[in-house]
């Protein structure tokens, strides 16, 4: 407004208002102090609440946030969608002892409802001065109901998930198991833990979107394999056995069983031998089955032809070792005969003809010198000599002095069966319509020649018991003495058979390894691969054929005759390079 009025106002304030202003300033100070005290109180209380709670435990257990992450773990299913592992939500009982009115009474009531709990322990827990104790994890709905009915206010339930394996021990070594906090501790549960848990960026948990981890396993084959192995173990009173069924065309493992096995729900109480996965973690000197690789690399490298042969009349003596044949023919043997009769002398000479360096290269290409790439955490690296001398070359030629896992054998034979391409083995179903990764390690011609040898072993050689009419089973037996310190135990064998079928165009590889079988009356006391493992493979093939609907081939089928073009040259022919 105008100047005179303003001057007038100023007068007013500085006149009678002067007192007012003095008072107002004092009172502004008072208000300021009140607010300052208020903010100081809030600050002090903040320190009190966040840091100085006298060790008071939070009323909320800190478990829920951690456990929440483990919720909705994805299912695991077999190649046909059969459930192998799933999660059930359960209630776990905990108590806040601080809120217990009468610990003795509560312990008595709880022990009556949950009889497997020890009353003394319960009382100790409930009488403690903690504010959180687990009483029992994973109650059944009935148990939960009974506990609720007790009406003890200090008891509460925590929703949890429990991993359930509908097939129990059947896939225990492959699927593995989880701990009480649903973290994978073994098998695929461990190696695929991240993938099985809720994907962090996905808004919905995997299990809810119906996305499950699909394995290459076929639970039907798995079941058949396990049953036949169990039968063999029982029949020959063996320590254990392992078996693999592999799809040679893409490296998918269709079945894989290791005995003895265990129930994944009670993994904690299982013996170490039970939890041991022989197929991937067990390293064995496989013995004669290795001769297939020796023959394959000899033929591939051109060191020998199918009609060449070696003199097997005399055992080979190299320093302190003597290489001799088991029930040897003691004569010149052609390459097919060496495989058919499983001659160690012949195989050793054949390996020498290939040469140590080349042998090593071929074994490397077949994946037999390094750990398997299978998705399990329980894998072993093969034991091979560091210095590859001639004696090593010779013994490795018939499968001694090198230890590999049964899965290595299956993968290597798979490379032969597939026509020379090595597909990395996998437990996960390969996507349809996408060519499986693979690497050519043998020419198709060589592979086909070895097919003939494998078929011959079953038709005329040591593996006759593996034959299944119409399915052209081929393979190789192996009976290796188990090493004991520096020597071998003659009475303790690793009896094995590596097979494939149908040999005119092999698709499936079946490997059976039996640990320390004992001869029976039926086997005339023998416990060798031909008597123990080969018939097991035969039974497995027969079951697979019906399950998978593979059509048998008639005896007159031209494919059959063609295979036998690998004629056996016997005796008489000399001129082998050794």
């Amino acid at each position: 407004m105008n100047a005179p009025l303003r001057a007038d106002q100023k007068l007013v304030i500085e006149g009678s208002g002067k007192q007012t202003f003095e008072l107002a300033r004092t009172r502004v100070l008072i208000a300021g102090v009140v607010f300052a005290l208020g903010f100081l109180t809030v600050g002090a209380r903040l320190v009190d609440v966040t840091l100085l709670q006298n060790g008071r435990e939070p009323r909320l257990a800190s478990a829920p946030p951690a456990a929440a992450l483990e919720m909705d773990r994805a299912n695991i299913v077999d190649r046909n969608g059969v459930l192998l592992a799933t999660s059930l939500s359960t209630a776990s009982l905990y108590a806040n002892p601080n809120l217990i009115i009468d610990a003795r009474d509560a312990a008595a009531k709880l022990a009556a409802v949950l009889p497997d709990l020890d009353r003394g322990e319960l009382l100790a827990k409930l009488a403690s001065d903690r504010s959180f104790v687990w009483i029992k994890r994973n109650l059944t709905p009935r148990q939960q109901f009974e506990v609720n009915r007790l009406g003890i206010p200090a008891l509460s339930f925590q929703r949890e998930e429990r991993r359930v394996y509908p097939h129990g021990a059947l896939t225990a070594h492959i699927v593995g198991y989880t701990g009480i906090d649903n973290r994978g501790l073994a098998g695929l549960e461990q190696s695929m833990d991240e993938a099985l848990r809720r994907a962090p960026e996905a808004s919905a948990p995997r299990a809810k979107t119906g996305e499950a981890l699909q394995l290459s396993l076929d639970i039907r084959l798995q079941h058949g394999l396990r049953q036949e192995l169990q039968r063999t173990v029982a029949e020959f009173d063996a320590l254990g056995a392992s078996g693999i069924v592999l799809d040679a065309r893409n490296g998918e493992i269709l079945a894989m069983v290791s005995l003895p096995d265990f129930d994944p729900v009670d993994a904690g109480t299982a013996e170490p031998e039970q939890r041991f996965n022989r197929n991937t973690l067990g390293l064995y000197e496989m013995g004669s089955t290795f001769k297939l690789f020796t023959a394959a690399m000899a033929l591939e490298s051109g060191a020998v032809g199918l009609h060449d042969g070696f003199d097997a009349t005399q055992p080979i003596k190299v320093s302190r070792f003597t290489i001799k044949d088991y029930q040897g023919k003691k004569r010149w043997l052609s390459v097919p005969e060496i495989i058919m009769y499983s001659s160690n002398i012949g195989a050793a000479k054949m390996a020498l003809a290939v040469g140590g360096q080349r042998q090593r290269d071929y074994l490397g290409k077949l994946g037999l010198l390094k750990a398997s790439t299978v998705e399990l955490p329980e894998i072993a690296t093969p034991l091979a000599p560091e210095r590859w001398r001639d004696i090593n070359t010779m013994t490795i030629g018939f499968g001694h002095g090198i230890s590999v896992s049964p899965l290595h054998m299956a993968a290597g034979v798979g490379a032969i069966a597939s026509g020379g391409v090595l597909h990395p083995v996998t437990l996960l179903k390969r996507p349809e319509g996408v060519a499986a990764p693979g690497q050519r390690v043998l020419s198709p011609q060589t592979a086909e020649q070895v097919w003939g040898l494998m078929r011959m072993v079953v038709e005329k050689g040591t593996g006759k018991t593996a034959d299944v009419p119409g399915y052209l089973v081929g393979g190789k037996t192996g009976s290796a003495e188990k090493p004991a310190g520096k020597a071998y135990r003659k009475s303790a064998l690793i009896s094995s058979f590596v097979g494939a079928f149908p040999m005119n165009d092999p698709r499936y590889v079946v490997v059976v390894v039996v640990d320390e079988p004992h001869g029976t009356k039926q086997s005339h006391g023998y416990a060798t691969g031909g008597w123990v493992a080969a018939p097991t493979v035969g039974r497995i093939v027969a079951r697979m054929a019906t399950l998978l609907g593979i059509k048998p081939q008639g005896d007159k089928d031209p494919a059959q005759r063609e295979l036998l073009l690998v004629t056996v040259s016997t005796g008489g022919k000399k001129g082998a390079p050794f």
Binding site: M1, L5, R6, Q9, K10, V12, I13, S16, G17, T20, F21, L23, A24, R25, R27, V28, L29, A31, G32, F35, A36, G38, F39, T41, V42, G43, R45, L46, V47, V49, T50, L51, Q53, R56, P58, R59, L60, S62, P64, P65
Partner: protein, 375 residues
């Protein structure tokens, strides 16, 4: 700070050199805290009521630029402009508050919200700052020896506001308004006998609320004896602070907010405690204290009674709201639903606070040469 030379006498230039820049910075930091905590505290609430997680975040973020704009624009006004703005805002807001009684949607047993063309606003939030300015003007006029019955008029104004607020009912808001009014009266030189009288009246009001409003009684009972009722909310809030500790769990890492009722509004401080930790919470308290105490310290030099009283009223409103909110979350006082200025979620609250703080910034600007406001 060198954007405008001192010789710049344009509106913006003058504003820049006269405004309290430190308080402005503190307010900006508060707004930033608010945005950060809305990201943390609102998604669980949104999910609980079936909205997409960032629904509230988006709504809040949309309002931040206009809020800042209002704050700056209002702070450019002179005291006379503030007075005129307050008259308009007060009139409209009071009308709307009365309208809520008639047409407002009932939420949690109270009619405080008004649907205006798709927007839902709480007019009482706007009433508060306008009331503080107008009451200050009336008190100041009492002292001008022209026989104007300022104190009586201020009393009437207060009653006009309190009655509809109590009818909504919004006891918390009414209490803040009454406290602001009382503080202003106190500063304006209220006799000690009267101070005693109003203190007794306030106490009487509290007792009346305790006996007549069951939810108030229950809250006070539960504060005095937590075991007398459900103490879930405050227990959970205290757990959040404990969980956060010194440095907090990290932004977005809090877990208590998922189960803490009103985590986005009345208990946002607990979310801050869990995610940002003690140090950040102390900084937050420090920011509120800084704005309030700096404002009060500036009043010591104030030459204009109206400006002094209006500023004090706005500061008391701001500081009281912060103290009540933080005190509730920390279990220092019975839980009282009150938003934490600039931190809690709420559009009406944000805009109204920007208006109030704009007024504060305008009134605390250094006015050299053109002293006090006229009538």
């Amino acid at each position: 700070m060198t954007a405008f030379p001192r010789s710049d006498t344009s509106i913006v230039g003058r504003w820049w050199w006269t405004v309290d820049r430190w308080s402005l910075v503190a307010l900006a930091v508060l707004v930033a805290f608010g945005v950060l905590l809305s990201l943390a505290a609102t998604p669980p609430v949104a999910e609980r009521i079936g909205l997409e997680p960032f629904h509230f975040v988006r709504r809040q973020l949309v309002l931040v630029p206009p809020a800042l704009l209002i704050l700056i624009a209002v702070s450019m006004l002179d005291p006379r402009g503030i007075k005129r703005l307050s008259i308009v805002v007060f009139g409209v807001a009071l009308l709307l508050v009365i309208l809520t009684l008639a047409t407002g949607a009932e939420i949690k047993g109270a009619r405080r919200w008004l649907a205006l063309g798709g927007l839902s606003i709480q007019p009482s939030e706007f009433l508060k700052p306008a009331f503080a300015v107008l009451a200050a003007w009336l008190f100041a006029r009492q002292h001008r020896q022209d026989g104007f019955p300022g104190n009586i008029a201020a009393f009437g104004l207060c009653a006009a506001v309190l009655v509809p607020l109590l009818l909504q009912p919004d006891v918390g808001m009414a209490a803040v308004v009454a406290a602001v009014w009382f503080a202003q009266f106190f500063l304006a030189g209220l006799g000690l006998r009267w101070v005693g009288f109003f203190a007794m009246t306030g106490l009487g009001g509290l007792v009346a609320a305790y006996t007549m409003l069951p939810h108030v009684a229950s809250r006070i009972d539960r504060f005095i004896d937590p075991k007398s009722g459900d103490s879930y909310q405050i227990d959970t809030a205290l757990d959040a602070f404990l969980n956060g500790g010194m440095w907090g769990r990290g932004p977005g890492e809090g877990t208590v907010k998922a189960i803490l009722p009103d985590a986005h509004s009345d208990f946002v401080f607990a979310v801050a405690g869990e995610e940002l930790g003690l140090v950040a919470c102390l900084i937050l308290v420090g920011l509120f204290a800084f704005i309030v105490l700096r404002g009060f310290s500036r009043l010591l030099d104030e030459r204009d009674l109206f400006v002094l009283l209006a500023t004090a009223g706005l500061l008391v409103q701001f500081g009281l709201q912060a103290l009540i909110n933080m005190g509730s979350a920390l279990h220092l006082i019975p839980t009282k639903g009150m938003t934490l200025p600039f931190i809690s979620y709420g559009g009406s609250s944000l805009i109204a606070l920007s208006l109030a703080m704009g007024m504060l910034m305008a009134l605390t600007r250094r006015r050299v040469g053109h002293g006090e406001a006229d009538s």
